[in-house]
């Protein structure tokens, strides 16, 4: 009984390994590319990994997608394993400064590593991502045009987080270029609860301080949560018919719904996650073809979302 179990155990383990092994050692001449991420369970990541895989299929690459289920040290381990395997390229989706031990190993082996919305790092050939400056330009010009370049604007910003900080730099520049636009308040909400509740409280205080209809023309938020909070405050105060224009950035599902319903929340910007995946695949194929990538960041265009296309994609 026991002996049979032991033998059975060994047999099962071995056959399972042989089966999966055989399936994996299909083609040899293909380029081998590894995609390594701790975040595959997150929706955004899934979009770009799927788009990358689709593009890689056309290019006939052997793609190995590795998810470490949130474990960042395991990302280093898997990079080391891929260096041992001598893959042709690695695509990374994690903050590169946390895995530099692995990036160092790849650099020493001469294996190029491309960031897919990862962050910039000297050890990455390039990072493929959305342009935060461009996204903020889309919404701040939308606001300026909608209020005909005059009136009080409330800004929700977050300077401590670099990807969000760059957005407010551009909005400041755009609003500064209109002499009749006045920045009424520049609010940094407490984001520990997700950002909506505190933004709502801050907006309620600002509404109370500016009771005259028309005294606030627009709310520009550096991301969607404060925009949603401001919307709730305006609706709760019964001032949703004053034509206060609200914009956000990121196009999360809640923001899309708010825009679709035709209220004060009028615009946001959607990142093209699929585009990031397919562009990363293009960059890898250029590297494999021997081209030198000069840009440290490759930007993928984003799209303004308004009532015209809120539920379109």
């Amino acid at each position: 009984m026991t002996q049979r179990n032991r033998t059975l155990r060994t047999f099962l383990a071995t056959t399972a390994l042989v089966a999966t092994g055989l399936a994996a050692t299909g083609a040899l001449a293909q380029s081998k590319v590894a995609v390594i991420t701790p975040y595959l369970a997150q929706p955004g990541t899934q979009f770009y990994v799927e788009a990358f895989e689709a593009a890689a299929k056309d290019k006939d690459w052997d793609v190995n997608v590795i998810d470490t289920a949130g474990d960042v040290a395991a990302v280093i381990s898997r990079i080391e394993d891929m260096v041992t395997q001598n893959v042709d390229a690695i695509v990374l989706n994690v903050d590169p400064s946390q895995v530099s031990a692995g990036l160092q190993a790849a650099a020493e082996a001469g294996i190029p590593v491309v960031g897919m919305d990862a962050g910039s790092d000297p050890l990455l050939v390039t990072n493929v991502t959305s342009n935060g400056y461009a996204m903020a330009a889309e919404t701040s010009t939308y606001v300026a045009d909608r209020i005909d370049g005059e009136g009080n604007v409330v800004m929700f910003v977050f300077e401590a987080f670099p990807p969000v900080q760059v957005r407010s730099v551009v909005a400041d520049a755009v609003f500064g270029n209109f002499p009749d636009i006045n920045i009424l308040d520049r609010v940094t909400p407490d984001v520990s609860d997700g950002g909506i509740a505190d933004s709502r409280a801050k907006m309620e205080a600002i509404l109370a301080a500016n009771p005259e209809p028309g005294s606030i023309k627009a709310v520009w938020a550096a991301w969607d949560q404060p925009a949603l909070g401001a919307l709730q405050a305006i609706e709760a105060a019964g001032r949703d018919n004053e034509g206060i224009v609200i914009t956000g950035i990121d196009a999360n599902p809640q923001a899309r719904e708010a825009i679709e319903s035709g209220g004060n929340f009028e615009a946001t910007v959607a990142q093209d996650f699929k585009g990031i995946g397919s562009t990363a695949a293009d960059v890898v194929s250029r590297i494999l073809a021997g081209e030198e990538i000069k840009q440290g960041v490759v930007y993928v265009p984003t799209k303004l979302v308004t009532i015209a296309n809120a539920m379109a994609d």
């Binding site: 032991r6 040290a73 395997q85």
Partner: protein, 321 residues
């Protein structure tokens, strides 16, 4: 022949796994470089599992090791933001580990709460503490001194092998030292023999004059310290700390000890068995990744192998009883 197979079944399985990877990956698996990589990748888990072995010898558990590791990493990184020198930050984090472990010990041995319940509660508390201390953020970048993150990247040069410079990684060295210490403690001292006595029959141990409470308290304090050390090693390896980064260590450490206990004659945890158990997990991760096996399939295989190994071992026990 039958006894041999019964006694060495897991070892034979281990050899079969090695052989399989060696054949499937002839150029890259059985190389010094790859084995040094595996040793480095598994070093943190080995340290946690070595500490876990100390309490599992008594038939107890410590579920809080993962959150303790996260908290220790956070403590080190937060101390760096106050410009504390590396030795001071590391010592402080180790003391947090010792204290946390001792609290587990008090809850279990003095107050008498079941280890599962007590350490489940401290797991939650330590994890919350890690979030509070860090403000929920990942601490990384320039605040982490080069000397701290450089440690995990460095190693003892071993010369060249097939024209490639190889080094014994510092993290591996730390793991070897801890394993040696735990081996001496469990196998060569009265303290260790008494822990095994408690694990064998706690009543008998108590009646024969073993200071069960004191020993349990010390054992849990040691487990907490090794968990903190592993957390510090983790923070060094990723040059950063976030409040959840150690969470995968706990289940893997327990799995490693269980797998390891199937190597021993009576199914009791032994430190060398634990090392083999952890190595099985590490080799599966390394080899299956190299074979491009899907990450999720990998998890299923690893879980399946644990069930097979431990269930055969427990069936052996039943047959003997």
């Amino acid at each position: 022949m039958l006894t041999l197979l019964r006694r060495y079944g897991t070892l034979i399985g281990f050899a079969a796994i090695l052989l399989f990877f060696w054949i499937s990956l002839p150029d890259t698996f059985m190389t010094a470089r790859n084995w040094l990589n595996i040793s480095q990748q598994m070093s943190m888990l080995i340290v946690v599992a070595a500490g876990m072995t100390i309490v599992m010898v008594m038939g107890d558990f410590d579920l809080s090791v993962g959150s303790m590791a996260s908290l220790a990493g956070i403590v080190v990184a937060v101390m760096f933001t106050f410009d504390l020198p590396i030795w001071a930050a590391v010592s402080l984090a180790l003391m947090v580990g010792l204290a946390g472990g001792a609290i587990n010990g008090v809850l279990i041995s003095v107050i008498g709460i079941l280890p599962f319940v007590a350490t489940l509660a401290t797991l939650t508390m330590l994890s919350g503490l890690a979030f509070v201390v860090s403000g929920g953020k990942t601490i990384s970048g320039r605040v982490i001194p080069e000397g701290f993150s450089g440690f995990a990247r460095g190693g003892l040069s071993l010369g060249e092998w097939n024209g490639v410079a190889i080094a014994l990684p510092n993290l591996t060295l730390v793991a070897i030292v801890i394993v040696a210490l735990v081996w001496v403690l469990l196998e060569q001292t009265t303290f260790g023999r008494r822990l095994y006595a408690i694990g064998g029959n706690i009543e008998a141990a108590h009646l024969s004059g073993v200071a069960v409470r004191k020993l349990k308290l010390i054992a849990f304090a040691l487990t907490g310290s090794t968990a903190a050390l592993a957390g510090i090693m983790y923070a060094s390896r990723v040059a950063s700390a976030n409040p959840t980064q150690g969470s995968s260590l706990m289940l893997n450490a327990i799995a490693g000890v269980f797998l390891g206990s199937t190597f021993s004659e009576h199914g009791e945890p032994r430190i060398l068995g634990t090392i083999l158990g952890v190595l099985i997990l590490g080799i599966l991760d390394n080899g299956l990744t190299q074979l491009s096996v899907d990450s999720y399939v990998r998890q299923i295989l690893v879980g399946g192998i644990i069930i097979l190994a431990v269930s055969t071992s427990s069936l052996t026990k039943h047959l003997r009883a």
